[in-house]
């Protein structure tokens, strides 16, 4: 049962706050009294809270409650902010739940070694690599028109995947696309995706450099790297006064701050809620 009902968009101008149910009936009663001969085109109804599933990162689950099923979740941030680590964690969590996942890799940037280290079950992951065949020039350094081709492919592929149905998680990785290209995706496309996953159990996760889906995203997370985690050299004291040799340094990971910018699945807090987590470099 819904613990915090959210009113349908027909009547409520403040979708983030739950209203008492008595207001629902009084509004309907008022309409009936003032316009007795008018038959309403639709009935006022409460939209149930979507089911939330784990994002794979406990800190993110604490602030956001998890990723909502049947909704679009957008994760944005600059490079090296932990977006892809969050994506891998979400894929791991979904494949652990024995759900079939699909990754629409717009820039063909997915690293199988990282995913294997994370423990993602590849038998349950459908990888779609957008872009034309290998050319002499790197894919992401082409003219903007070629980037648009990749995005157009990604939109068509996403349409097909959502229409097919049955996927537990469909992720669209636009992280490496320039923001001026990614924001050209029409709002109608995002709206179409949102309507396609509505009333299904699919989590639609979009990774972007900056917010693109606007109001279509039920959950919007912003990620930012906090600090670099590096292993202090074990014998730094022996090198006092000297530069630490580069091979003695080791990138352990980095600390990431995640902030909830928008959430339709819970009451909006008075101030931004954020949490930090640390990634760890894969061994071997």
């Amino acid at each position: 049962m819904a613990s915090s009902p959210i009113f349908s968009s027909l009547t409520v101008s403040r979708p983030f706050f739950a209203a008492p149910s008595s207001n629902l009936f009084s509004a309907e009663a008022l309409l009936k009294r003032s316009l007795p001969n008018v038959v309403p085109a639709s009935r006022l109804a409460v939209r149930p809270t979507p089911e939330l599933v784990s994002s794979g990162i406990s800190q993110v689950d604490v602030i956001a409650g998890g990723f909502p099923r049947g909704c679009l979740t957008e994760v944005c941030g600059p490079n090296s902010s932990g977006r892809t680590s969050l994506l891998l964690a979400a894929l791991l969590a979904a494949t652990r739940r024995a759900e079939v996942c699909a990754l629409v890799d717009v820039s063909d940037a997915f690293d199988p070694a990282s995913a294997a280290s994370a423990g993602v079950d590849f038998q349950k992951l459908l990888w779609v690599r957008c872009g034309e065949k290998q050319t002499s020039s790197p894919r992401r350094h082409r003219e903007p028109e070629k980037n648009l081709d990749c995005i157009e492919q990604a939109l068509r592929v996403t349409d097909l995947l959502l229409q097919s149905g049955g996927f537990g998680l469909v992720a669209i990785d636009l992280a490496d696309e320039p923001f001026n290209i990614a924001r050209r995706i029409p709002l109608a496309s995002w709206f179409r995706f949102q309507r396609a996953v509505e009333h299904t159990s699919t989590v639609l996760l979009v990774i972007t450099p900056a917010p693109c889906a606007q109001s279509c995203a039920a959950l919007l997370l912003k990620m930012q790297a906090e600090s670099l985690e590096k292993k202090p050299p074990a014998f730094s004291s022996q090198f006092s006064g000297c530069d630490i040799p580069a091979h003695a340094e080791l990138l352990q990971g980095f600390e990431t701050r995640t902030e909830v910018l928008r959430s339709r699945t819970a009451r909006k807090p008075g101030r931004s809620v954020s949490e930090t987590f640390t990634t760890k470099a894969a061994a071997g």
Binding site: P78, T84, C130, V157, T279, A281
Partner: protein
Amino acid sequence: MSFACIFVPEFSVQALLRAEPNLRMQALAVLEGKTPLQKVFAMNEYARAAGVECGMSKLEAETCSDLMLRERSLEQESAAHAALLDCAQSFTPRVEDTAPDTVILDLAGMKSLFGPLHKIARDLMRRASEIGLETSVAVADNPDTATLVARGFSGVTVVPDGKVEEQLGSLSVEVLFAGKNDEESVQLLETFQRWGIRYLRELAALPDIALSERLGEHGLFLQKLAQGKTARTLAPVDPPLNFEEVIEVEHPLVLLEPLAFLLNGILEQLCARLSAHALATQELRLELDLVSGWRSEDEPDSNRSTSLRAGLRGRPSPHNHFSRTIRLPNPMLDSKTFLKLLQLDLKAHPPGAPISKIRLIAEPARPRPAQNGLFSPPSPEPEKLELTLARIAAIIGEDKVGSLQILDTHRPEAFRVQRFGIHDPAKSSTNGNSHGKRSSDDLVTALRIFRPPLVVTVMIREGRPVHIHSKKRTEIGGEILWTAGPWRSSGDWWEQDGWSRDEWDIALQQESAIAFFRLVHDLLSGRWLLEGSYD
């Protein structure tokens, strides 16, 4: 004991009509022989009514108006016969392959399963009609009587007990020699005609001794047939399961739409035959015979987009044969899904020449038992998923969609994209990595790969990279804030394509924040490459 006989009248005509059902209501005659000595071999009732006779030459037959002429196709007859056997074997395994146009079933024990004999006979006729054959079905207490009645009466006939001779009596003596062209049979028929024996009742009434003196044992046997007193055991056959349909087209096919129309008909018949055996298929093989020596100027421009010759414009096909195989991850039995998969495949790989013959073979497989658990998570339907994957492959390429398989080597980018399929949850395993179950707090720092790697210029100071510059991507460059490395890895030095590289992790200041990259020095080529960014 009861036996049912399924007889296909005008078998050669019916075999052709399976591929062209639109000709069923038209006068159709089948020709046999080499040009210009072709003669009419068989015809349907409309052609007979128009005055066509067996043995007519092609020129004579062409004088009849509204008459369609087709060459006899042994392959289509073979496919029709196989379909007829499938139909019979869907009721009982005890089926005798009496003739190409006749099969006999042993109905022992079937009443309790399928109902009374009339119902069984009607079901047989209906099932045969579903595979494109209009048949006559007869049920009698011995196989030979059932055969004669099926050949003599159209529709469904059940011979009541004790009324065998009466039922057979009204049949013409010619029914005893149907399908036989040997000299002895021709002579016997002529003898009966000279004696004035027109019907089986007249043959049955002849004195047996006198008949034996004049016609011998064969004559006596024919009399017993006419009386319905023969008794023989059925010789059931167990033909190999061969699900194959063939169509030879009159005019070579150039466009995809008519080919799809024919494929739809073939697929429906194949699926019906597979369903009759409670089987599905996991592999479809399409084999096309092509016309060689064509010219592209013959084709109107409006057909270019859906032309089957789009793949090799302006050049004659070097091969006369074209084949495609569609392998399915799970056994399926949906003709519409198969048709869509074939259409998508032919659009991606057009044959390159007009098509003169179509052969479609389905490899039988046990159907997939699908029973979803009450609490198991939903997964895509295999048929829908297969279509979706085919459509995605048509957009981005076949090798760009699938599931990953990590190869057993330390070479960078050692993976393979393989066909994606839904596996049995009980049999599914992890991707084989040795890290075991990872807790949610052990997050892996993910790497985003640049494909292909970005070539950069690096300034080295005291053995460390201190400055980096990229021509193609100017926003990645500048002073390196932090480095870690190098870590050397190499391998396959005994092969032609060995590799050796030094890897560095570096930090660069970008517009909004510090970003981390993996820098690689290829020791064999000497190039510096930016392989990816940590995210």
